[in-house]
């Protein structure tokens, strides 16, 4: 049978013939529903890029994360939502061992990175090594007070890449990847601090992308930006899926709805519910989730 589009092509004679009743013996073609109404998301599940297994975390004697078991699928955007103090940023920062910079923190359990099965929070794993494989973009854009070029190149220099041509190439690639190349290509040697807030944040994203991380962590990346800059970065995040796996913390639920494939709701250090975003925002399974996203906190 022909497809819907075929049926609907500007085939005047065919349509007119239908009107006048001179169709072929078969009758007009049946539109094919399967092609017309494909599901938007692939029904085949993506493999896991990382999974946290019985993860617990303490700041001193205060337990901030309780038994978190969460799978982060590869090449998908997973969003973490929840009220202030629920532990979403804490959880995010376990992935690149940022907590190690503070005294008196304790991890328990594991975050397994696939496919090598490295435990990201294990004491046997070097935090510097972890940070070289997992990138992060912070809440407020924090470019170094250097030129745009040097900002993006810094991560590469740390990895021993000092050849001028190679640096130039990879910096351009990273800036293109963050959809900001056209805006800064004539200003590579100007200070990164001279850019607007949204541009600075995208330079920070290219800085993180330059080192080709396996997972890119976003900690409320647009909370300090205006709607237009926010929209551009949200668009960028959905495009980044092809290159990296994304884990994003946001206190803006609508952003999570727009941008992510999977959403996890956390409350008081625990993981309450995780599911496909379309399910969470149309019909969540747990009442706690429903109450939070509809605004019934009281």
């Amino acid at each position: 049978m022909n497809t819907t589009v075929d049926t609907m092509t500007a085939n005047k004679s065919r349509q007119a013939a239908t009107m006048q009743g001179e169709t072929s013996a078969q009758g007009p073609a049946t539109p094919s529903l399967s092609i017309a109404m494909e599901d938007r998301k692939a029904s085949r599940a993506n493999p896991a890029k990382a999974s946290s297994e019985k993860l617990n975390f303490w700041y001193g004697s205060n337990q901030a994360l309780k038994n978190i078991n969460l799978v982060i699928p590869e090449h998908q955007v997973t969003a973490l939502i929840g009220p202030s103090g629920c532990g979403k940023s804490t959880f995010l920062r376990c992935f690149n061992r940022m907590h190690d910079l503070q005294a008196d923190t304790k991890y328990e359990g594991a975050i397994m990175l696939r496919p090598d099965n490295v435990n990201l929070v294990g004491p046997e794993t070097d935090p510097i090594e972890v940070r070289m494989r997992i990138g992060m973009v912070f809440q407020k854009a924090n470019p170094f007070p250097k030129s745009v070029f040097e900002n993006v190149a810094y991560g590469l220099r740390l990895r021993g890449i000092n050849n001028k041509t190679e640096l130039a190439e990879r910096v351009e690639q990273a800036l293109r990847g963050a959809a900001i190349w056209d805006e800064v290509k004539d200003r590579l040697n100007d200070s990164a601090l001279a850019l607007s807030g949204g541009q600075m944040q995208r330079v920070c994203i290219s800085r993180a992308l330059a080192t080709e991380p396996e997972i890119l962590l976003f900690d409320e990346p647009t909370s300090a930006l205006d709607p237009i800059a926010t929209a551009k970065i949200e668009e960028l995040i959905t495009e980044l899926r092809a290159r990296v796996t994304v884990l994003i913390v946001t206190h803006n639920m609508q952003q999570a709805a727009r941008v992510s494939d999977f959403t996890a709701f956390m409350y008081l250090g625990e993981l309450v519910e995780v599911d496909a975003t379309s399910k969470i925002f149309t019909n969540p399974a747990k009442k706690a989730t429903e109450d939070y996203i509809t605004g019934r906190y009281g």
Partner: protein, 256 residues
């Protein structure tokens, strides 16, 4: 009849939209051009599916009437077999518009467009039901005869079918192109359809007074005519949805 059909016989086809947000600021489609390609795509998909459903339903209507007029049993059964497809489209569009609202939080034109699509799907599904009823009538009608009420009003049936499918086609095109002009055309044609219906009923009444034999068939014929008139109304409703989507106000009513 042919003339009417020719003028809008370009067929119902999803208009070639400029894909990609960058192109659309100068383009003619007011519903494109979002920074978020996902939103652009999703909204376009919703409208495309509505248009596809429209094409299917138009086909159903004309096939059902043709089956009745030509006593074509096979065609009638084809229409009946495609009815679940129509319902499927409607439930899919219902679900997809809801998901779109939940995930993308459309406002203003986008929100009205989404609601228009959902309501248009409902209207089209009802049109599908009407054509199903006509097809059922066609399936059980026996061979044609002189005293057949269907034969008596055949030319009205044909004309009303033509008119209502024209209205449907224009209405769906209006949705596709977000065109208020086309929508107004549909509203205008409805009057003609209603007049045709009135004439056909009068004809049928005189037929019945002369010959009481085919009462059952006559009643069924009345329903067929009424069905076609209703299809016209549904097309009119679709056109009104398009006007609401584009202009933000329903014609003839205070703003919602």
């Amino acid at each position: 009849m042919e003339a009417d059909e020719q003028s809008t016989a370009a067929g119902v086809m999803p208009s070639k939209r400029a894909t990609g947000a960058a192109a659309s600021h100068g383009g003619s489609d007011p519903l494109e051009g979002h920074t978020s390609k996902t939103m652009d795509q999703s909204l376009t998909e919703l409208r495309t599916h509505a248009v596809e459903m429209g094409g299917l339903v138009i086909d159903q209507v004309s096939s059902a009437v043709k089956a009745l007029l030509d006593r074509d049993l096979r065609l009638a059964e084809l229409v009946l077999s495609r009815e679940p497809l129509v319902n499927d489209y409607e439930s899919r569009l219902d679900r997809d518009t809801l998901t779109f609202i939940a995930l993308q939080q459309p406002v203003a034109t986008d929100l009205r467009a989404t609601r228009a699509v959902a309501r248009v799907a409902l209207e089209l599904e009802r049109v599908g039901d009407e054509s199903k009823k006509i097809a059922r009538f066609a399936a059980k009608a026996g061979a044609a005869s002189e005293h057949d009420p269907v034969v008596a009003v055949a030319r009205y049936l044909r004309h009303m079918a033509g008119l209502s499918t024209t209205m449907l086609r224009s209405a769906v095109r209006a949705l596709d192109e977000a065109s208020p002009v086309l929508a107004h055309e549909v509203l205008a044609l409805d009057k003609e359809l209603d007049a045709e219906f009135a004439t056909a009923i009068r004809q049928l009444m005189s037929f019945v007074m002369e010959d009481h034999q085919f009462l059952r068939a006559t009643i069924d014929t009345i329903f067929a005519l009424k069905g076609l008139e209703r299809i016209g109304d549904h097309a009119k409703n679709i056109a009104e949805q398009v006007l609401y989507m584009v202009e933000g106000e329903r014609p003839g009513r205070k703003s919602a």
